[in-house]
């Protein structure tokens, strides 16, 4: 004969045990974020209608929860390109493209912003290049 109260206790115990959730609590250390730009190269010159490839490798010793990619006109602070991605990884390959429509000469900044787990802070890496008509 099945002991129903005992069975219910076992069922409840299974639920209780299966409801525990461990979490990686590694303290965030933003200095350990690395961003290696492959493109654009510092000082690179692009012209109107050129396609600018933003390629970079992002890595960290724990969880990266997101990256943002922006291209900013440093003369006006206008953001001419922006993209972001929610992530849950320790490495990510950025591969974005933007067609230069700027008709004036200006210095552009490619900015990669990295968000990591267990931190409200963010870290940024920049590279500068030039747009010319």
């Amino acid at each position: 004969m099945i002991n129903i109260p005992k069975s219910l206790m076992v069922f409840a115990s299974i639920l209780l045990m299966a409801s525990c959730q461990k979490k990686d609590t590694t303290p965030a250390d933003l200095s350990k974020v690395t961003v290696t730009f492959a493109s654009p190269l510092a000082g690179q010159v692009v012209h109107v209608n050129d396609t600018v490839q933003v390629s970079a490798e992002v890595s960290y010793n724990a969880e990266i929860i997101g990256v943002g990619i922006q291209i900013i006109d440093t003369a006006t602070s206008d953001v001419v390109f922006a993209e972001d991605h929610d992530l849950h990884t320790d490495h990510y390959s950025i591969d974005e493209s933007w067609v230069n429509t700027l008709t004036d000469s200006t210095v552009l900044c490619a900015k990669v912003t990295v968000f990591v787990a267990n931190s409200d802070e963010r870290t940024e890496r920049l590279t500068y290049f030039t747009a010319k008509p």
Binding site: S7, L8, I14, K23, D24, D84, D86, T89
Partner: protein, 308 residues
Amino acid sequence: MRSLLIAIFIIAGSGYYAQACDLCGCSASSQYMGILPQFHKHFIGIQYQYTGFTADQPSLMDPAGHERAYSFNNTMQVWGRYHVSDRLQLFGFIPYHTNNGDDAGSAFKVKGIGDVSALLNAVIIKDRNDTDFTTWHQALLAGGGIKASTGKYTGITTLDEEGLPNVQAGTGSWDFIVNANYTVRHDGVGLNADAAYTITTAGKAGYKYGNRLNSGLMAFYWLRKNNFSLLPQAGIRYEYSLHDYDNYSRKWLNEGSGGTILFGTVGLQAYYKRYGAKVMYSIPVAQHYADNDVTVKPRLETSLFFLF
């Protein structure tokens, strides 16, 4: 007539949660067998389920901005019951999913066979003389089963990373289910309570969907005339999903996933001789899912049975 009388002891099938689109979105989507007829041992049926959700999340780079997504999930499922013995019932499910949606302006469509499941339930309590309408009757089933990783799964998607319910045909994981189901009835009026807990495992990509509880409390009334039976029913369903792990081995908990939903549910079942049909409609009356970034929509479920 006798067969209809025998049907009086309606044993609700064990609640069972399939996470193809869980909390299915699954969301938070869910599935349960509901109240099943007992006037023939076996049955086979086809079931259609519709679920959906919308999502509105703060943008990563600009918290004032928003990223929106939605998904509408349709599942056609062949399912059935096989009486292994008087004390054991085996249930099987073969779903086919068609999911459409949009994530921040990018449309997606997923279709294919989902994760196949099987449940074995033991009849722990069942009255022998269940044709008597004048006395109390009760039944208790309990058991468990497995959900196999048979559905197409392409790894972690952007939606997964954003904490949204899975919209892929499969989950990429083998999961285990334990369940219990209790029904009590007197003079055609009955109450059914069920609970099922799905213990998930990590898939090949390391992603682990959160364990899920699916429970319900339904009242029903059995109307009978000649070979016809009608069962109007109403009640509530409560679903609770733990957080997903983006990488289970490294314990990367996705705290933007998981949550709770309370549904108000109404439905009707009809039987004529060896044929049955069911329609159920559930409306979320309270929900807190994915930090309130996800809104689960009403659900529709219909089913046709052939009993043998």
